[in-house]
């Protein structure tokens, strides 16, 4: 076993250990055992960092891959299914090692931060236990080498998110939110499972490597449509977990959980899982499936951005920004900008964790005030939070010199390139939506920064009857009361060091130089060099499609080996990409060679569009920022009057496009109606049958008892009666008087005599 595998098993099991210790013994440990969670995650991060260092920095090989597996369950040959063998395994490549380091780092920081944020909560120990199992599940997804174990950990992530979202379960809204998250995820998971089954039915294996090898060898026995369907069904898992349209509704409600949990969900663990999973299955997605993915991503990005601009809850704005950024990642994968999408996943993880932890600090400092309308002027009171929050905001908005700029720009460049290659007018919708969302992002984040940190503090403006939110939070926190009282004396102040340190670390990781020496081009950085776009296996899997595209059917493994060239040279803009035989073009320029010309063309066109993307996105971001400045800083446009002027649009956005209402009217009402129909069926038909049978049995029993009473008992009683009567008669003869016996004797003798004489006569 490779030492990386051994180390990664340790990393995987450490958070589980933390969970087991804390769930059973937290009350016996000092400080409810929070140091166990923090210490274990710190250790896990240290080990992950070692793996990361050795894999990404020292080996520096884009094709690096270590795998190990064992047979977990061997059911032999199952009738009707064929050989059924379930393997478990671990694969470590560049992506895994980066994700490992990212997940453990953010989880560690969240643990550390929570020691301050959750202080005094009555379920403090259990909280850390849940964080442990959440991290464990996510690490399981990251390390899995097959669909089956990914599915197991996928469900575990769903479970742990359920536990954490509903952590304040005494609160009705939290209990509702956890159910909503769980159900929305379940919808996606069903699709994912069906997708897994389609693949399993063909290849009798769950392993990624074996499935892709089989696909590359063209062993997929069904039509191409089935392959597309399998891809889209697997993507459904991502739609649920990564909160893509139309299953995005759970994520904003998940804000009911404690704020550090939101950071964990939104950055490292839950929503990243969906994007990571699509990246894992990327090479088996057909162009049709990729188109679906790209459009869903673009719709999600745009829709969430439009909703975010009108939300007043500080965490809800961030939640919708998360949905929007996830839309970007999915869009990136859909358009084939694989490296860029994963790059965005990582950069987003850090700055979004920073933003959530920052908002947690604000909520903590303002005594559970979450409504931005009653904040303001916090920059002086909380300088550390302000600085880190602003830096992360810049990264989220995608301003140059930040990590967010690098990754978002790479995605948008890929989207432009994709639209150019696909050529259809409708495909231009994807980059357009992307750019527009970038502008909206800049606008709503500018609004948030201004409302929270600048101007006068508006806490006193809060209407008295609008207290319920804070009040609920108080009620739910319970143990916080003492803490809060302590705070009332000092008013709003900066958070303690254990909450500040994570903010600083995360903000530092939102700067460009962590990822790339060139502040304008992420492709020069180590990340995109280490995560090259893998060559698709479906071009080769489907000869017709390959022939259609004029592709060369080469095995996927050779293709992966061929992708060792770097993206470094690719920034040079090349005019007239279209129509050039992409493969040969790539060779000329010393870039990748792909067996699938479509993929090569898209990547090439993406590089070509790099500067275009920079110009447009910078312009869009500046537009958004200046709009925010005009509205909120200079007050040239009054936001309230504008809202009134475009009231329908405003309400549309404020009510989140009415998705909750639509779902309520359709699925929830529909389920209720269905349930009613079933209830009716149950009561009238099923119960009717049961009652009918019962009545029949009763009738039969009645008849039976009649027979029993009259015939059987009658026979018995009649016998008794006969005996009784006979006895009564015969008793009379036994008088006990000797004389009567003599009479009878005489009569008998006489009778015998008569009988004898008559016999003699005849």
């Amino acid at each position: 076993m490779h030492s990386f595998i051994q180390l990664s098993i340790v990393v995987l099991l450490l958070p589980l250990l933390s969970f087991v210790i804390l769930i059973f013994f937290n009350r016996k440990l000092p400080r409810r055992g929070d140091f166990v969670g923090v210490g274990i995650l710190g250790t896990a991060f240290a080990i992950s960092a070692t793996i990361f260092w050795q894999v990404v920095v020292q080996a520096y090989d884009p094709a690096f891959r270590v795998a190990w597996d064992f047979t977990w369950i061997d059911l032999g040959t199952v009738p009707g299914v064929g050989p059924l063998q379930i393997k478990m395994g671990i694969v470590i490549d560049n992506l895994t090692s980066i994700m490992l380091a990212m997940v453990t780092l953010i989880s560690f920081l969240v643990h550390l931060y929570s020691t301050g944020y959750m202080k005094g909560d009555k379920n403090y120990g259990r909280y850390f236990a849940f964080l442990g199992i959440f991290t464990f599940s996510m690490l399981g997804i990251v390390l899995s080498d097959n669909l089956f174990s990914i599915y197991i950990f996928w469900e575990l992530v769903g479970l742990s998110s359920y536990l954490l979202i509903g952590f304040f379960f005494e609160k009705q809204s939290a209990a509702d939110a956890q159910k909503k998250a769980f159900l929305a995820n379940r919808v996606g998971d069903i699709g994912m499972w069906l997708g897994i089954l389609i693949l399993y039915s063909q290849f009798h294996t769950f392993s990624f490597q074996e499935i892709y090898a089989n696909l590359a060898a063209g062993k997929f026995g069904l039509s191409n449509g089935w392959l597309t369907a399998a891809g889209i069904l697997l993507f459904m898992g991502c739609v649920g977990k990564s909160a893509q349209f139309p299953l995005h509704v759970w994520l904003p409600d998940a804000m009911e959980g404690p704020t550090p949990v939101s950071a964990l969900i939104h950055a490292a663990t839950m929503v990243a899982a969906g994007v990571y999973f699509v990246a894992r299955i990327f090479i088996m997605l057909t162009p049709d499936a990729l188109h679906v993915i790209a459009f869903i991503g673009a719709c999600t990005a745009f829709m969430a951005a439009t909703i975010a601009i009108t939300q007043n809850d500080i965490k809800r704005v961030l939640a919708y920004s998360t949905v929007s950024q996830l839309g970007y990642m999915v869009l990136g994968l859909g358009v084939g900008a694989y490296s860029a999408a994963l790059f965005h996943l990582v950069t987003h993880a850090f700055f979004k964790a920073c933003l959530f932890l920052g908002s947690g600090a604000i909520i903590h400092a303002t005594h559970h005030e979450q409504d931005m309308r009653w904040m303001g002027g916090l920059s002086k009171k909380m300088p550390w939070t302000f600085a880190t929050f602003t830096l992360a905001t810049l990264a989220l908005a995608g301003l140059p010199l930040t990590s967010g700029f690098l990754s978002k720009d790479a995605i948008l460049a890929g989207a432009i390139g994709f639209a150019n290659v696909e050529g259809g007018g409708i495909f231009y919708l994807i980059p357009v939506l992307g750019f527009f969302s970038a502008m909206l992002t800049a606008f709503y984040m500018g609004r948030q920064i201004w409302l929270v940190f600048f101007g006068e503090n508006r806490a006193h403006l809060k209407p008295a009857d609008d207290h319920h939110h804070g009040h609920d939070a108080h009620a739910a926190h319970g143990g916080h009361d003492a803490h809060d009282l302590h705070q009332e004396d000092h008013g709003i102040h900066e958070v303690p060091w254990n909450m500040r340190a994570p903010l600083v670390i995360l903000a530092a990781l939102s700067l460009f130089f962590v990822y790339s020496p060139d502040p304008l081009d992420g492709a020069r950085g180590w990340f995109m060099k280490m995560i090259p776009t893998p060559a698709t296996v479906v071009g080769a899997a489907n000869p017709q499609k390959g022939a259609l595209l004029g592709g060369v059917a080469a095995p996927a493994h050779a293709a992966v080996a061929a992708t060792t060239e770097t993206h470094g040279e690719s920034a040079a803009p090349a005019a007239g990409v279209h129509g050039v035989a992409a493969a040969s073009h790539g060779e000329e320029k010393g870039i990748h060679t792909y067996p699938d010309p479509r993929q090569a063309e898209i990547i090439h066109a993406g590089h070509a569009a790099h500067y275009t993307a920079i110009y447009i996105s910078s312009a869009m971001v500046l537009l958004g920022v200046s709009l925010a400045l005009i509205v909120y800083v200079f007050g040239i446009i009054d936001p309230d009057k504008t809202a009134l002027a475009i009231r329908p649009l405003y309400l549309f956005s404020l009510n989140k496009w009415y998705w909750d209402e639509i779902y309520d009217a359709t699925f929830i009402k529909g389920s209720m109606a269905l349930a009613k129909i079933f209830t009716w069926f149950d009561i009238n038909i099923v119960d009717g049958i049961v009652n009918g049978v019962a009545t029949l049995v009763r009738k039969f029993a009645f008849l039976n008892s009649g027979f029993d009473k009259h015939v059987v008992d009658g026979a018995v009683n009649f016998t008794a009666f006969t005996v009784n009567t006979t006895g009564a008669v015969l008793r009379k003869l036994q008088t006990g008087k000797v004389q009567s016996y003599i009479v009878m004797l005489l009569l008998a003798v006489f009778g015998y005599f008569v009988f004898y004489v008559t016999r003699m006569i005849h």
Binding site: Q734, T735, G736, K737, Q739, L746
Partner: protein, 105 residues
Amino acid sequence: MDQLTTIGLNHYLTISALLLGFGLFAVMTRKNAIVVLMGVELILNAANINFLAFSKFNGGMQGVMFALFVIVIAAAGAAIALAIIINIYKIFKSVDVSSIDSLKE
């Protein structure tokens, strides 16, 4: 006339039958146990007359011998019967056979 003047077997048998009838009648109808015993003696004597009559007309001595035995046994029986009656009287304070019916229990 011959038949009326000469005493034949039939006369003996008739007397015997009458005696038997009276004896039976006494046994069946009398209430007093001693009278019943007397009826029994009548029956025995009816039998004796039969024995003697058949003995006389057959010419043998067996009937006479048998009658003698019967007389002896009747004497013994009467003694035992009287002893029983005395015991009955001790128990029931009565010798009325119609009121003694403990056999039916």
